[in-house]
Symmetry: C2
Subunit: 208 residues, 2 copies
Amino acid sequence: MRRHKEPEVRKSELLDAAQKLFIEKGYAKTTVTDILNVHGLSKGVFYYYFKSKEEVMDAIIQRMVDDAVDNAKKIVANPDMTPPQKIYAILMGQGQTEEMIKDREDMAHEFHTADNAEMHQKSLVQSIKYLAPVMAEILQQDTDTFSTDFPQETVALFLAAGQFIFDEGLFQWSEEENTRYAIAFIQMIEKTLGVPSGYFSDLTKKFA
Amino acid sequence: MRRHKEPEVRKSELLDAAQKLFIEKGYAKTTVTDILNVHGLSKGVFYYYFKSKEEVMDAIIQRMVDDAVDNAKKIVANPDMTPPQKIYAILMGQGQTEEMIKDREDMAHEFHTADNAEMHQKSLVQSIKYLAPVMAEILQQDTDTFSTDFPQETVALFLAAGQFIFDEGLFQWSEEENTRYAIAFIQMIEKTLGVPSGYFSDLTKKFA
DNA sequence: TAATTATAAACTGACCGTTGGTCTGTAAAA
DNA sequence: TTTTACAGACCAACGGTCAGTTTATAATTA
């Protein structure tokens, strides 16, 4: 009765199931058996495709980061956006994959980061590694508007600060606090990049 | 033969042993039995003093953060330091307790943060919670030199960025990279706080 | 006051449930 | 027949529990 599936299909099934569970319950609290139960599979098949639970997490993070980088590259290539808009769009879209945004429209998905420290840390490290260079390009290609001595390093600092502070699971900011942090964040970016104050201000309305 | 000890002494023994192991091996990879073996104690005594392994981590973090806050308050009260020097001293002293610095002089202690995500995350969260207000006071008390709309939030962003980027376990920066990040970090702070460029520059030499 | 007993505090170690991971084997596909 | 995809019993290790033992302290008695 058991039907053998294409390896890639099975692997994707497992990855998708794992990702959903990791986000819902957290990495640590998600059992390998939990992942297998989603499609009624047995222990063996998991370790046929992956050599450890951690490898699955790494694969998921890689997928998410690749997505984010692709998205960022599209933004960079978009001729209808100004450089500041690009910076803003990439920074603010962080931590949310396209799929996650779609999902979020349906049900309220909380990225349970408190129980997800390992995953959160790894994904932040990878984000910085792969996303910072792409963003740094924007700054380097428009030295008229931006004045930064170390674009990549500066952008990395932005990513680290933003991803951490605005994480929904770590701090439960009130709406007011969130707004204050958002403004402070944007002002920090404006000042650091040397763009006039208010450059991003009209974009800030999204935080209302 | 078994000697009963003062509860506080025993508890400190366990906390100290745990802290050392958590730093050396990481929280996840440190066994409760490992902690007990340091002083040859049995399972029961651990759960006599703590109700879980996580509680021990929380206690250790609290101790570290309290230390850091005390230290920060002393710096704030120091009349021989200028406000920028205070900001600098607190930001750069982060993540290293006095004891850890002493230890580091003896043997090369690596805070194995890669295997320590949970602890690192929690301690960063607590740092921001308790340290940011203290630092914000410095900014508020010297509005002539500093111009920031949201002192506490801004400082929190600094802490998050700095603690993450300069973590020894997460990124293995070369000496050059480290210097670049340090300069970028300082420039970001200078620009964001509205102090003239080079305000911290003479302090930067420490990174050589 | 010294010896005895009662009570609580500090500690032991066998035990349990769960989990990540292994291994031998089997059914389906080629 | 060989290879690929899968099943599921099994294992070691870990966090945590618990009934019981030893040590210190207070209360009682002689």
